[in-house]
């Protein structure tokens, strides 16, 4: 008999962290009596048990953490015992009342969690090989497989970024707890996160890309380190709408066609710093799920994609503190168990450039005039979550996120890097006061009603609000002052029920209620002179309710098939619009663990759309103004068909190919394509007035996405290529031509190469894509003024987006170093943005008054060195 003794480690992390013990248990196929005895001797914890009941069982367990209770639970996982805690140092092992002779099969249900943090894992795959049956954990980490015959069964649990757990458990109707170990390396005593694969298990939910934060964190970010949305661009079909700023475009969609969820609560504008970094800090999330295109019926409200991120519950086994700083911001994360049944996570981030250059600058000139110039800009995030688990079957969590950007400027017009020239009292100046952000609070209660029923209830409040105030004084008598605000507030409730009907059917149904309020106000006046002004004052409030019902069934008709049909029915605006959106995803395993093919077809409906005043210079610069579907604005609707294949020819290499075709209607397109902002104030903020600047349009897109993920030892290569076409045309004009969408890039490729040498990591990343479409004039002509007869020159632009900027190419280089010092683990990194120093052309303009028309190029960012430093206290 092979014996692997218990490995039991105890360490003290110092007074700051308290006296938390670090336990590590590794046993394999050891008699339970022996394992419990060793545990008792080495840990000092008294475990009372009946040898008569226990001696027939053997145990396999892998645990690492600080909880003796969890360690003991690990030892009895899958065995017919439960644990009763008498005190922190005394436990009793109680046999379960089961009669194998009478019970022939059970529901194999339980939770899957991260071994190191205790966080439950959403999207982990559970497989019972001898039955060919499997299940996927829900957002609570729960899974269930009804009808599993009683007895010891081999079970395989896997999740991307974690070591596969292949173990034997006793199927006896008891809830099991499976803990997966993150893939890590240990170099010179420093625990290093290995470079994990991005690809999810081949048998995951059709259409789903599961992205554990550890996977994303190892990917380079452009200017926003530790940023989920920034690193998503390395996946096929996903790109930013700009060089370093702009929203996320998935499969050619508009940035407003993506649904962003934090703990199931929608976030309307997930960006900071003028879209330079996102509100999604990778380190604050335990799970990140991305659906491109054909997403299941449980999600809706957007045409293109879903990003569903779950905040960390907080360490269930030990406190953990992470702090970091980079060029843009400083951040921290604290998580800890509060009691044995509760935990919390608190995370914060703030930019600090205002602390360096100062927010207010009192100045005084030789004449004694005083003034206070302002150069304030900062953004911050707060994320917090408290989780309480009254028992093994229930969980109550309260999540909160708030983030804001604040820009406060008062500067003279002749601002420059020569501070002495303008740091003086200004009589001609501009003031800009902008403030925008999201705030959400969600309460979620999850309950395992029975082994077959799991219920999740969510109540939430989510708000987005932006204000843009300005005062501009270019002469002593002329000025403009403007106060503008826009907001959208959601008050919602969701009920989701999982029903594990049989070993082949896993149903999920839900009801979602949302009441939305949209507001906007403007109060502005242009003073052409002291006694000649032009005011604009409007206020708009509208409400819209939405009721949605959905049902979906994860159906496994055979060991190789996974079919996910679903139907989502929404009623919007008090019944003004009722839309049904059927969904279907199919996955077939051609060669187990090697080759799967996937397909899907879905209809999506979007009831809110984002617009802006396209003519005004003073507002709608940073705001996202959402408007509900109305009589003038029917919901936009899309139909998408996808197909794909994923092939793993050998361990470490994953190849994917996906195609899609999508058609959308009732998307908003600019009415006068060539027009740009040309006035301080627009025609007004009433929705109908703004909608007059748009036309209803239709959109078609198709594409091929190829991905390569190679991971072997110290090397990792991630490559993607996307070839696509996204075209728009006006809907009410059947003769209208199709033209390329605003950010349509026919070809888009990226490569990330990373390697590790000891505690060092080196990486290089390259992006190449077609240039964005632009409207290039094809001629010029002259007209005459009917009054003066003077000539004026105009450009002949017969087609919209008939040209294209030069291809965009950029290479970044990253170097990272992990080390241990001061009883902490450190990560330091340097990122050279645009190391090739190519000044990409990111825009072109044409002036009709030039002697000869030539494009005036606008260049992108030069080489920028960035740094990042992070410390982890355990």
């Amino acid at each position: 008999m092979s014996r692997i003794p218990i490995i039991f480690l105890l360490c003290l992390l110092g007074a700051r962290m308290g006296h938390a013990q670090s336990l590590r248990v590794e046993v394999r196929d050891l008699p339970l009596t022996e394992a419990l005895s060793s545990f008792t001797v080495q840990s000092g914890v008294d475990v009372v048990f009946s040898r008569t009941h226990v001696q027939a069982f053997r145990t396999t367990c892998s645990y690492e953490g600080s909880s003796t209770r969890d360690a003991l639970l690990c030892l009895i996982t899958g065995l017919p015992f439960r644990l009763q805690e008498i005190s922190s140092t005394q436990f009793v092992l109680i046999p379960l009342q089961t009669d194998p002779a009478r019970i022939r099969s059970h529901i194999l249900g339980g939770f899957v969690s991260d071994l190191s943090s205790g966080e439950t894992l959403n999207g982990a795959h559970i497989l019972v090989p001898e039955l060919g049956a499997g299940s996927i954990t829900n957002e609570a980490g729960y899974f269930a497989l009804p009808g599993v015959p009683t007895g010891r069964r081999r079970i395989v649990a896997s999740f991307v970024g974690y070591e596969r757990l292949d173990t034997l458990i006793a199927v006896d109707g008891q809830t099991v707890h499976l803990a997966l170990r993150p893939t890590t390396l240990n170099v010179n005593g420093v625990v290093i996160e290995a470079i994990p694969s991005l690809r999810a298990d081949l048998d995951s939910t059709p259409g789903l890309v599961a992205l554990p934060p550890n996977s994303l964190r190892s990917l380079p970010g452009t200017l926003g380190a530790d940023d989920v949305l920034e690193t998503l661009r390395w996946l096929p079909g996903i790109e930013r709408a700009g060089e370093a700023t702009g929203g996320l475009m998935i499969r050619g969609s508009g940035p407003d066609q993506n649904l962003y969820l934090i703990d199931g609560v929608p976030i309307y504008h997930p960006w900071h710093a003028f879209s330079l970094v996102s509100t999604f800090q990778t380190g604050t999330f335990k799970d990140i799920l991305v659906y491109r295109g054909a997403f299941p019926a449980e999600y809706g409200g957007r045409l293109s994609s879903v990003l569903d991120a779950e905040l960390r519950d907080g360490g269930r086994s030990a406190p953990r503190v992470v702090a970091g700083i980079n060029m843009l911001h400083a951040r921290f994360l604290i998580e800890s168990p509060v009691t044995t049944k509760s935990s919390f996570m608190l995370s914060g981030r703030r930019s600090y450039v205002d602390k360096i250059i100062g927010q207010e600058h009192p100045v005084r000139d030789d004449a004694g005039r005083r003034d206070t110039l302002r150069t304030g800009y900062y953004f911050y995030d707060w994320s917090a979550k408290y989780t309480y688990r009254p028992d093994d079957k229930s969980s109550l969590s309260i999540s909160h996120y708030s983030g804001r950007d604040v820009l406060d400027l008062r500067l003279p017009f002749d601002v420059s890097l020569d501070f002495d020239s303008f740091l003086q009292p200004a009589d001609l100046f501009f003031e800009i006061d902008q403030d925008w952000g999201n705030r959400m609070t969600g309460i979620r209660f999850q309950r395992l009603m029975s082994d077959k029923w799991f219920m999740t209830t969510t109540l939430y409040d989510s708000r987005y609000r932006a204000t843009e105030n300005a005062f501009v004084r270019p002469t002593r008598t002329a000025s403009v002052q403007s106060r503008y605000s826009v907001s959208v507030a959601d008050l919602g409730a969701k009920l989701d029920v999982d029903w594990y009907a049989s070993i082949t059917h896993q149903l999920r149904a839900g009801l979602q209620l949302v009441q939305r309020r949209f507001t906007s106000d403007i109060d502005a006046t242009i003073y052409y002179s002291s006694d000649f002004s032009d005011p604009l004052s409007e206020s708009v409030v509208s409400d819209a309710g939405e009721v949605t019902l959905y049902v979906q069934d994860l159906w496994r008709p055979g060991t190789r098939w996974r079919i996910l049909p679903g139907l989502r029915v929404g009623m919007f605006g008090g019944g003004r619009y009722v839309r049904a959106a059927p969904r279907l995803n199919v996955q077939f395993t051609v060669v187990p663990d090697r080759l799967v093919i996937r397909g899907g077809a879905s209809t999506q409906v979007q009831y809110v759309q984002r617009i802006q005043d396209r003519l005004a210079f003073l507002y709608d610069l940073v705001s996202s103004r959402w408007v509900p579907a109305s009589d003038d604005l029917p919901p936009s609707r899309s139909f998408q068909v996808t197909a794909g294949v994923e092939h793993r020819p050998f361990r470490g290499l994953s190849l994917t190919a996906d195609t899609y075709i999508r058609a959308s209607r009732n998307v908003l397109l600019p009415d006068e394509q060539f027009r740009t902002r040309d006035g301080l104030l627009g025609p007004g903020i009433d929705v109908s007035t703004l909608l007059a600047q748009y036309e209803k349009g239709e959109e078609r897109s198709a594409g091929l996405e190829l991905g390569l993920d190679y991971h072997s030892g110290r090397w990792r290569v991630l490559a993607s290529y996307t070839g696509s076409a996204t075209l728009n045309r006006l809907l009410d004009n059947p003769n209208a031509d199709w033209h390329p969408a605003r950010f349509h890039t026919p070809r888009n490729a990226s490569v990330v190469v990373q390697t590790a040498a000891g505690s060092w990591t080196f990486g290089a990343s390259t992006i190449w894509r077609s240039g964005y479409p632009i409207t290039v004039p094809v001629g010029r002509f002259v007209i005459e003024d009917p009054v003066t007869g003077t000539p004026a020159y105009a450009l002949y632009q017969p087609e919209f987006n008939n040209g294209r900027l030069p291809p965009y190419f950029r290479t970044d280089v990253q170097v990272g170093w992990q080390f241990s010092a001061f009883n902490a683990d450190w990560k330091a990194g340097i990122d050279l943005f645009n190391v090739s120093m190519r000044r990409n052309v990111i825009g072109q303009t044409f002036n009709p008054d030039d002697v000869v028309i030539r494009a005036r190029d606008r260049r992108g960012l030069p080489i920028i060195p960035l740094f990042d430093l992070e410390v982890l206290l355990r």
Binding site: A244, T245, F413, D414, V415, V472, P474, T475, R476, T477, A478, Y527, Y528, S529, F532, V590, R594, H647, A657, F674, R675, T676, R677, D678, G679, L680, L706, Y721, G723, P746, S770, V776, V778, G779, R780, F781, V782, I783, E784, P786, V787, P791, A792, Y793, L795, Y796, P798, E799, G803, R804, I842, D849, D850, V851, V852, I853, R859, G860, L861, P862
Partner: protein, 297 residues
């Protein structure tokens, strides 16, 4: 292990990479540009026929006209032939062309190289300015003169090319005989030396296009500025043309876009060509300001 799927994927990728098209074919065929303003109270107008030119054509050569077109104007269903007088200028082949009256309907046809351009309209009622008052500022005031306004976070480029100077703002009130129907007006202030700067332009009102029945009063107020080199420079002597033009809603679109050719595309009304053919009524007054004219007139 089967490598066939890998080959298929690789083949598809190669095919798509080769076939994907990101170039654009640009149609550079020249297009006719036709302009005809049929002015109330004036003889039948001349008609301008030009064409678009390539981007490399110098600005000075854009005035070149099209002289081999067949141009006809039909006024109240009476066709009148036009003939070329060089540089794309066509005039009626009549010794005494009739004077256009309010309510006259007309059509303009231009045929050249097998292509026909056509436009039509109605002549609006006569327009009369009843008074003009100019209010120059007492003193020159400091002002920001910005030549370019280009702000982009992507490029870290604050393209403010700033200079400070001095200007005399001038407010001008224009009153006219207002009509209650649905005509549109274009009001214009055209000083001798038009001044323009990116920031200051937002605070000037040298022109406006508005429906005639919208303003509460029959007075439009515009603002322009006259730059001067020093704070104590006197108000410069200059002339300013004050004009009102009445037209229909198509004229309003044309006038709006004509005033902003950098940010908008001209929205003409000629089928088969660029340009505008329409009826207008015009009244204008030329003011002489400065030197002896320092106070309200």
């Amino acid at each position: 292990m089967s490598w066939r799927p890998l080959f298929v994927v690789t083949g598809l990728a190669a095919l798509f990479m080769v076939s994907a098209c990101d170039s654009v074919e640009v149609d550079t065929a020249p297009l006719l540009v036709v302009e005809a303003y049929v002015v109330e109270g004036q003889p039948m107008p001349h008609i301008s026929v030009r064409r678009t030119h390539g981007l490399s054509t110098p600005r000075d050569e854009l005035m070149e006209g099209v002289d081999n077109a067949t141009v006809t104007m039909t006024l109240n269903e009476q066709p009148v032939p036009y003939s070329s007088h060089g540089s794309g200028m066509y005039k009626p082949d009549l010794l005494n062309p009739p004077v256009v009256q309010s309510g006259d309907r007309f059509e303009v046809s231009v045929i050249q190289g097998g292509h026909e351009a056509w436009g039509a309209g109605t002549v609006p009622p006569a327009l009369h300015i009843t008074s003009v008052q100019a209010f120059p500022a007492e003193f020159a005031i400091p002002a920001v003169l910005v030549d370019t306004l280009l702000i982009g976070i992507d490029s870290l480029d604050l393209g403010l090319d700033v200079a400070r100077g001095y200007v005399y703002p001038v407010e001008v009130d224009v009153a006219w005989e207002r009509r209650p129907d649905t005509w549109w007006l274009e009001a214009r202030l055209v000083p001798d030396d038009a001044f323009s700067s990116s920031i200051l332009d937002f605070f000037l009102l040298p022109n406006a296009v508005f429906p005639e029945n919208r303003p509460v009063t029959s007075v439009w107020r515009g603002v322009y500025v006259v730059p001067v080199p020093f704070e104590d420079s006197p108000f410069p002597h200059h002339e300013v043309l004050v004009a009102l033009v009445r037209g229909d809603s198509l004229f309003a679109s044309w006038a709006n876009s004509r005033a902003n050719t950098r940010t908008r595309t001209l929205t003409g009304n000629v089928s088969g060509a660029l340009g505008y053919v329409g009826g207008i009524a015009v009244d204008s007054i030329r003011l002489e300001l400065g030197a002896v004219h320092r106070n309200r007139q």
